[in-house]
């Protein structure tokens, strides 16, 4: 072939500098390697784009970023898009749509909600917001019902014990919530929504990036008149809810070696509820309300020195405050604060060998007038952990060990071991063992006439067997587990004080699948759990509030300017008392939503919850009666992007 074929190149280019570079290049070629020029070059620009993209990343499972598909843990990731498509109006409802969760609440709209992961207790799930533990040190659980969905960018859920990486509470699993983050071009948007029970929501978001800086600022106000929290309550009142929240994040990348991220979330407001009793007179009333505040502040510095070593330093603080009123007069209050400092180092020995060394310091402070005056108001916990993750051909091994030194109960060690085997490119088998614990709460230790300050932590051991398949347009996983929990803290029938007396055993399985069919994206999950009391007079009975079988199906598709979404939640019956003499029946609920793009900027969304207007109960007890649930409700939202 002739030399003149090269002269054609330049005019096909659009950028002058590149054209100049090209010309220089080929001039050089012509003079030096004239033989090469006789080569017929066949190059196709679009021949293949090896696009190693859309890696779904999870940071919660092993305390460092890894591919979610590769993780040996059973994980679920909910991103902003999923939240917007979901029919869930609050965080407890969203979690309830995830495999492995059971929900119990004291009525809708910002009332006390407890989630049970894999049949464990509600305080057996560790909750982190941007790496900082958010919980009430007095109650030992997290107030999910006060965290607005609008402030959440992403949620990572890891099922199974993780105490050997995180310490206390990670028995059933870990939930990590990431607040709104900025990226790409600067954008502003507003949301206005209105729905049944005079439910109003308004929010404004500003986010984006500029050079090496990323930022996000989001403010949200929502309020509702609510419905009566308890059915047939003597005072047939609506129990309203107000929540004002703000989140801010700022990230800066100094270089490829050093970056910093700071996030802040504050949600505060008021919620009304029924059947509270006066702390001094013990009289009950349905005129009860709580002023609450949830706050988290996280600062993370990430650094890399070379291929071998990288790490991060976290400084965080969270608060869970509430002030409770009985007929508008001060009743009691709890203020708890958590400080987290952690230093985690990763040593990448080879591509397939990683060692993680971490140090955690935490301090919990409780401020309340409810405990005796001699009660310590804070306790700290120092911990060190090591993890070794390695891969040999088709086998993977994750080992972790952790030692916690708690000011109250002393030292406690936990460990875990996971083995993975890739049977084929698509199929992977997993086998794991893990021990975990939960530290006694301040209420367990110091509450008058109940607390005992010599309690030991609750302890658990779990084994799990899993298999998952990952294909080009479908994913599925099946996990079978058994968890034995010992030293559970409960009221001693003789002394009525707290004691490490109970045992429980939970056997369960989850089948999770994600696939596309006829242009619909489908999410399917089925969870089975048999949670049994293993001690005392109720030995062999089912633990309360856990359904044996739960089914979730969600489907969505884009159709022109519309996005349709439908979901089904079906749940088996649940027992409401320890001796299983009373129960609430199973139920099935269908939700639907449609989003319509009015223009490039404006989107109108309508969500209908409980389309069939099914009457159902998710919580009742002999003292409070039956808590209400919502019938068919409509909520309409308009979003405008500027």
């Amino acid at each position: 072939m002739s030399d003149n074929s090269y002269s054609i190149f330049p005019h096909t280019l659009h950028h002058k500098p590149a054209r100049a570079a090209l010309r220089r290049h080929f001039v050089f070629k012509k003079t030096v390697h004239s033989i090469v020029l006789s080569l017929l070059l066949i190059i196709s620009q679009n021949a293949y784009t090896a696009d190693i993209s859309q890696e779904e990343i999870i940071v919660t499972a092993n305390r460092y970023s890894q591919s979610a598909d590769e993780s040996l843990s059973s994980v679920t990731i909910i991103n902003r898009n999923d939240i917007e498509k979901s029919s869930a109006k609050d965080l407890p409802a969203l979690l309830n749509s995830v495999a492995g969760f059971d929900l119990k609440n004291n009525g809708p709209y910002g009332k006390l909600s407890s989630v049970f992961l894999r049949g464990t207790n509600s305080g057996h799930t560790l909750t982190l917001i941007d790496g900082v533990k958010l919980f009430s040190a007095s109650a030992g659980s997290t107030a999910f019902h006060y965290i607005p969905l609008d402030q959440i960018e992403r949620i990572e859920i890891v099922r199974g014990p993780k105490s050997s990486l995180y310490g206390s509470e990670a028995i059933g699993g870990v939930i990590q919530i990431f607040t709104r983050k900025g990226s790409g071009q600067t954008k502003a948007s507003t949301n206005i929504g209105y729905g049944e029970n005079n439910t109003r929501e308004i929010s404004a978001l500003l986010s984006g990036s500029e050079g090496n800086a990323r930022f996000s600022l989001n403010a949200n106000h929502s309020s509702t008149d609510g419905i009566d929290a308890i059915k047939h309550s003597t005072n047939n009142d609506d129990d309203g809810y107000i929540n004002d929240s703000i989140s801010a994040s700022f990230a800066y990348k100094f270089s490829n070696m050093l970056s910093f991220e700071s996030t802040f979330l504050n949600a505060q407001g008021n919620t009304e509820y029924d059947n509270c009793f006066n702390n001094s007179t013990f009289a009950t009333s349905d005129d009860c309300d709580t002023n609450f505040e949830q706050q988290s502040f996280s600062n993370i510095l990430k650094f890399t020195s070379n291929d071998l070593w990288d790490g991060q330093l976290l400084l965080g603080r969270s608060r869970d405050n509430d002030e409770n009123f009985w007929e508008s007069s001060d009743n009691f209050s709890f203020e708890t604060e958590r400080i987290d400092i952690s230093f985690v180092n990763n040593f990448q020995l080879t591509e397939n060998q990683l060692i993680v060394l971490g140090l955690d310091y935490a301090q919990d402070t409780v401020n309340t007038a409810e405990y005796p005056t001699s009660t310590p108001d804070k306790r700290d916990n120092k911990a060190a952990f090591i993890a070794w993750d390695s891969q040999y051909d088709s086998f993977e091994l994750n080992i972790s060990l952790r030692n916690d030194d708690n000011e109250q109960f002393g030292t406690h060690s936990t460990g875990s071991l996971s083995l993975g085997h890739s049977i084929s490119n698509e199929l992977k088998l997993m086998l794991s063992y893990g021990s975990a614990f939960k530290a006694p709460t301040f209420n367990d230790l110091y509450f008058p006439f109940f607390g005992v300050d010599t309690l030991n932590p609750e302890e658990s051991e779990s084994v799990e067997l899993g298999i998952k398949g990952i294909y080009s347009s479908a994913k599925w996983s099946l996990n079978v587990y058994q968890t034995d929990i010992d030293n559970l803290i409960a009221s001693d029938p003789d002394t009525f004080t707290a004691s490490n007396i109970n045992k429980a055993q939970i056997t369960g399985a989850e089948l999770i699948s994600e696939f596309s069919a006829f242009k619909w994206n489908m999410n399917f999950s089925f969870a089975y759990s048999d949670a049994k009391n293993q001690s005392g007079i109720n030995k062999g009975k089912q633990l309360v509030a856990r359904a044996k079988e739960t089914l979730n199906i969600q489907a969505d598709r884009n159709y022109g300017k519309h996005v349709f979404s439908v979901s089904l939640l079906a749940q088996d019956k649940r027992y409401t008392n320890l001796d299983n003499s009373s129960s609430i029946p199973g139920y099935a609920i269908i939700d639907a939503s449609v989003a319509y793009a009015l223009s490039k900027q404006a989107t109108l969304t309508a969500k209908i919850n409980n389309i069939a207007d099914t009457e159902y109960v998710i919580n009742e007890d002999s003292f409070n009666g039956t808590y209400n649930t919502l019938g068919r409700t409509l909520f309409v939202n308009l979003r405008y992007n500027m």
Partner: protein, 211 residues
């Protein structure tokens, strides 16, 4: 999707909570693959999950025999080019309006030992191979390192790959090295069995992205 089918799935699943028919997943999976077909030449590679896209027809196994083109039967020997090519060069060369012997990359002519001329799709072969070896380095995932790069190599007439180079760096050594290492492992089945009509210079844009 028909509403009836959704209803059917919901109802049947509700009725038999545990009895989810896994075979439907498989069937749907296959449907999707057929839809994607081999017409698309973009390859999506997720690390450690090789061969995400499987060309439904292997060009070697099911060749279409075309008339012998005498002019193409002789492989052209080549001298290696040690100069990394700038990015723009690579994209522009595809725009060559031919001279003689121009060969469309998607209709690469492959000749086997028996001198039969097969019209195969070289891209499909390479795509399958690349899918096997591309990976996202774990250290880069952990550090949230992302980037785009271009790797080039020469594909000799006998299927040998040589002269693998990074034409445009991602800015991270780890990512560049991963791309180089992956291409080094490619073993084309055409080697020893088939002969390419021409030596070709391939350019592969690789995009490492995390979400």
């Amino acid at each position: 999707m028909k509403p009836g089918l959704f209803l059917f799935i919901s109802l049947s699943a509700t009725a038999h909570l545990a009895a989810f028919n896994l075979s439907s997943v498989w069937m749907l999976d296959i449907d999707k693959r057929t839809e994607q077909g081999s017409s698309s030449i973009s390859v999506e590679i997720t690390h450690s999950k090789p061969a995400i896209i499987k060309p439904d027809v292997s060009p070697v196994k099911q060749p279409r025999i075309i008339a012998t083109q005498k002019t193409l039967t002789k492989p052209i020997t080549t001298q290696q080019n040690n100069e990394p090519l700038p990015e723009r060069t690579l994209s522009s060369i595809s725009q060559i309006t031919p001279v003689t012997n121009r060969i469309d990359i998607n209709k690469t002519v492959i000749i086997d030992k028996n001198h039969s001329v097969l019209q195969g799709n070289l891209d499909d072969l390479l795509k399958t191979e690349l899918n096997k070896y591309f990976y996202y380095p774990k250290a880069a995932i952990r550090r949230n390192w992302q980037g785009n790069l271009i790797v080039t190599f020469t594909l000799d007439a006998d299927g040998q790959i040589s002269n693998i180079q990074i034409a445009k760096s991602s800015g991270y050594d780890i990512l560049d090295r991963a791309a180089l290492n992956s291409v080094k492992q490619i073993k084309l089945p055409i080697r020893n069995q088939f002969t390419l009509s021409q030596t070709t210079l391939k350019s592969i844009p690789v995009s490492f992205q995390l979400n």
